[in-house]
C-alpha cells in the first residue's frame, strides 16, 4: 500500500517537475521540488487518485513535505 502510494507520487512529481532522482525523505519544499502551484496540483491529484477528501486541517506543508510523509498522510486519511 505504502509502496504503491510512493510510486504514484514519484510519477506525479516527475510529470510535473524536471528534476533528477528525488529521495523519499527529501524535503520537497526545502529543495524547491515543489512550489505552491505544484503543491496545489499535488493535493488535487492525491484526492482524485486515492479518492480522498482531505480536510482543511490536514492541508499544510508539513503533511506533504516529502514522499514518505505524503504516503503516511494518505494512508492515515484512507483509514478514516
Amino acid at each position: 500500500m505504502m509502496d504503491d502510494i510512493k510510486q504514484k507520487v514519484r510519477s506525479f512529481l516527475s510529470k510535473n517537475k524536471s528534476t533528477e532522482q528525488i529521495k523519499d525523505d527529501d524535503d520537497l519544499f526545502e529543495k524547491g521540488f515543489v512550489d505552491s502551484l505544484f503543491s496545489l496540483q499535488l493535493i488535487m491529484y492525491l484526492e482524485k487518485e486515492f479518492r480522498l477528501r482531505i480536510k482543511n486541517k490536514d492541508i499544510n506543508e508539513d503533511n506533504f513535505r516529502s514522499i514518505d510523509k505524503i504516503a503516511e498522510t494518505v494512508t492515515r486519511l484512507k483509514k478514516k
Partner: protein
Amino acid sequence: MAEKIKCVVWDLDNTLWKGILAEDHSVILKPGIKEILDVLDQRGILQSVSSKNNHEDAMKKLGEFGIQQYFLYPQISWGSKAEAINIIAEKLNISLDTFAFVDDDITEREEVRFSHPEVLLIDANDIHSILDMERLNPVSITQDAKNRRILYQSEEQRKHEEESFTGSKEEFLKTLDMKLTLSKVVPGDLNRVEELTLRTHQLNSTGYTYSYEELTRLIDSEDHLFLIAGLKDRFGDYGKIGICLLEKQEDRYTVKLLLMSCRVMNKGIGTAFLIYCIKLAQSQNKDLFAEFLHTDRNRVMYITYKMMGFEEEGEEPGDTDDDSQQVLLKYTSKHHKDFPSYLDVKAPDC
C-alpha cells in the same frame, strides 16, 4: 440576483439560419443574426454551438457565412445537447449558471432544462430581444471584455501545444515565456477591477466587492497597497487578470482580497502575488495575515494559501468544511519562497 451570462450556446437549424442543413444546403442566415453575434462578442460574452448535424457540413456553412470565428469549441454531432453544454462549460472553465442556450425546438430546451436547470433557455423566436435582456448586458464593458474571445482562442492553441509537449509541466510552462507585471491600481483600471470582483468566484479568497467610490479611496489610501496583475506570453496578452489588496497596519500586513481570472488557473499567478506579499512583509519586518471566506467554489484558493505555509489563526481549527466561514490565516512557513522559475515577474520594489 441571477449571474450575468458569460456564454451563449446556439443551435443552428431554424435558430441561426432558416431551414435544415441536412435536408437543404441552401439555408440562409436569419436576418440580424450577424449583428447579434457581433454585439455579444463585443460585450465579452463567449459563444458556442450545439447542433445536431454533420460536423463538417455545418462548420463549412458557418465558414461560408463568415461567422465561424465567433464560436469556441463548437459541438456539432448527433449526441445530447445537455452533454454538449457540459463539454463547453468544462473546456471554458465557467459555470453552468452563466450559460444561455438558444434553440427553436422545445424538446431540446426541455432536455437541457432537465439536466441543467441553471441554464437560461431562450426560444429562437425571441432572438431579436436577446440584446436587450438584462442578463446579457454586462455592468461595464472593458477592453479585456472586448478581447475575451481572442484570449480563449489563444488558450485553445496553448492547450493544443501542451498536449503534444513531451517534457514535464514545468518545462512546458518555461516555453511559454510568461511575463507577469504587478503594478499599483490606477483610476483607469477601476472598471476592470470591478469586473474581476464581480466575475471571479473560484479563485477568490474572500469575494469582497467594493463600490466605485470605495475603490477610488483604496487607490489613494496610505494604509493599503492595491495591486493589479497583467500577464503576457508568446501566444498573446491575457490583459489584466488578477488583483490583490493588502492592508498595512502598524504591526502587520493583511491580504484582504486576492483574486484571479480562471483563465490563468494553474499558471502560478496566485503564488507569485503571495510571494510578493511575503517578501514585502518580511522586508518591513511585519507579520503577514490573510483573510479568507469559504464559499462553495473557492477551495482551490484555500489550498493555495495552506500549502504555501499559511495556518489558521486563533482557536484549534476544527473540521471547518462548512461554507461561508470566515477565517484568518497567518503566514508561518520557515521555507524561503521565491517566484516560480517559469515566470518573469516585474513588481514595485519591496
